[in-house]
Amino acid sequence: MSPTATTISPARGKLELDRDDWVVRGLLVAFAGFFMVALAIPLYMMISRSFHDAKDNFVGLDNYWEYFNTPALSQSIYNSFFVASVSTVIVIIIAFLYAYALNRTCMRFKGFFKIMAMVPLLSPSLLKAIALVYWFGNQGVLKDLLMGNSIYGPIGIIIASVFWTFPHAVLMIGTALALSDIRLYEAAEVLKTSRARVFFTVTLPGARYGLISAIIVVFILVFTDFGVPKVIGGNFNVLATDIYKEVIGQQNFGMGAVVSVVLLIPAVIAFAIDRIVTRKQVALMSARAVPYAPKPNRAVDHSMFTFCLLVTLFTLAILGMAQYASLVTLWPYNLTLTLEHFSFELEGVGWENFLNSLSVAVSVAVIGTFIVFVGAYMVEKPRRDPIARQAIQFIALLPLAVPGLVLGLAYLFFINHPDNPLGFLYGTIAILVLSTITHFYTVSHLTAVTALKQMDREFESVSASLQVPMARSFWRITVPVCMPAIFDISIYLFLNSMTTVSAIIFLYGPSTKVAAVAAIHMDEAGETAAAAAMAMLIVYACIIVRVLHAVVTGKLLYRLQAWRRR
């Protein structure tokens, strides 16, 4: 008699869990815990704080009532919307033309222009503001161009915002324009369609989703940015600077929380719109599509070249002025060059800030990349626990909707709560690293998920059939194959950690102040040249690391990825 006659299996049931299934479950729980601590609890405490007074009594909507009845405060809502909208319109037009030139024309020096478009990413947003002050400020070189208007205010905020959000917009629109089937254009041409009509019926619809995403992302970036309005906003208040003033200036944490919620809501709504709209996106590029290859057109190519050159000159003018500002003895009276601004004489500021920046950025790049990639793997690859994995995926998308300043304030409430056992982390590098990883989690996560989706879905099935543990396949197959994406994530995290101020500005301690925050403080104290010098240190570090990264990863990839070569 066969043994099965004695072991009657249940008619319905679930697969038994093997060791890998337990590993996955353990990790999913760990990630749930991570997001509770890193995002959910802090945000909850901040929102809850906006309903309490200074003595922690529940006061309902009183704080909001007060906020909306203080014109000085609620005026900022209008101001924020105004600068964000105008900046978005301008940057989208410029970025679209630039991306179009890169992807759809035979313009010369495309490689150079591609790199130049990304240059603003290497510097903190406040650096652009400082450079604008030197160009157009009260003692600026080109002050007269403003015809009596002041750069301190909406004009300055908009110009600087356009400049620093430009690379983001070019990246997103460029991706949308890069993917196009040339057959659509050939069909249009055969049907004798005019160029303009082709543009509005083929080109624009094809890039529609990339454009919508770019519009929303740029809007959120400007709407929630702190560095630019802090330096160049003057008396023009926006929501982000209000939070800072309420918390740092007036120690009015309750009102800080209220403004944060006011800032958070539009960001979340915009983010939700983006998710809903882009979910409808269907792949325009089928496997059989033939990629678009532009044909030479003298007039278009030349005018696009001129346009890109102008944009690039503007980029160089901003960066160059910042560099010059950090070297001039006393603008505009004594123009002799000096390195004295790099000695950072101001109280509480020095090279150690720069070293702190490096520690934070390296830690975020290493730890963050690891966490993000493992998290994306958990979301994408296991077969079981689909609900838990979808929940993690959803939570991983949320940080994008949370402005850095809001996240920082939320952490402040969280870490300073008397009952929090993690309170000892206040002012440490660890809390700066945690907040920065969380702040930049979403884009890194999406990059990792995209890379993982491109891997054959059956690798895991094959491994299981060969009885190879998941961890071994992860290290042996998944990580090497995804190495380019892993490097991309690490450099993304490094550059952003170096240049960000928003989440960190509420969380640093006396010994952990980072360079970008120090630059803000020096600018506040009127030491603009030293602020420029500190910001330039960040730029140097970013350039060096970016180049090193390119060289090392190029070599490493060449060695590790011999299999990519035929």
Partner: protein, 373 residues
Amino acid sequence: MDTGNASVENGYLVLSGVTKDFGTFRALSDISFDIGEGEFICFLGPSGCGKTTLLRCVAGLETQTEGSIHMSGEDISWLPPSRRDFGIVFQSYALFPNLNVTDNVAYGLVNKKMASADMAARVTELLGLVGLASHADKYPGQLSGGEQQRVALVRALATSPGLLLLDEPLSALDAKVRAHLRREIRGIQDRLGVTTIMVTHDQEEAQTMADRIFVMNGGRIEQIGSPGEIYDEPATPFVADFIGVMNFLPVTVGDSTTVNCGDLQLQCDAGGFAAGANISCAVRPEDVLLDDVGDGTRDGTGDGTGNLIETTISDIEYLGSFVRLYLKNPILGDAEIRADVRKDLARDRGVAVNQALRIRIPAESIRLYQTGD
């Protein structure tokens, strides 16, 4: 309908009452069969018939909603894939792109804590089996599709699994390579004697490779049989239609030896049906004979039992060694009868569109099916 009577005691792989629901959609309903050790089985059916889902249930990559799976006497119904004893080859090959051929094949062996010399010998032996010994150091990207498929095959066989699962392994290859690999896979399977299940939508593939074919449709097994049985004695209209080409005529049962299609009376064995029942009459195109002489035979030497139909040729297709004629008759309305005629016969006869043609359908070539389901 013949779905086989599964008994846990006999087979090497035994499924009983396996059902799989995706939400409200029933992908598999009440699948039961048993497979003997060393058999080569094909799950054959159109896309969406549940054949891949069934294979994945056997592998543990999907979990059946109900039912049990036994392999080699052991209940594996609720075991995770890692604790089942199978090797699998996917349509996409799923070769690890960053590992060379040797490392791909050895991937499952490393885990078995095998001595490295034994492992190397095993890999060499396996690569020899598929004639890829000289490609041991190449990466998958440097191999052709057929070579990649062979590597995937020996990777799955490396650990000597008790069951080999092939999920449309040849679909991504071009026709010539596919025909060659069919024989090669079958040859290796014969030599190693490994019980094998292959999923395919290609009836030719199933018929050339399988010991037994499980024809599936709508989440059910329609028929289990040898390639010959499936073709010659299709159990259901679906099988008759899916395997090869089949003419269907709507008919009414006359008596136990005749059916009527309008005014047309056809002799055949209608014993199993009630007189007056509306049923379906099926004839393979190659069983439709030309009848020039008019005595009920093609060449004047036959028995002349009738079943003559006067038709007009409406279209002609040249299909290599034979010619397919599309034949019309007012009784049939819009329906056409397809007749396959050897090329030389067609040429001698000088077939042309709009020509009148008398055909004969031998009584023994007619199969009758219940209609309406």
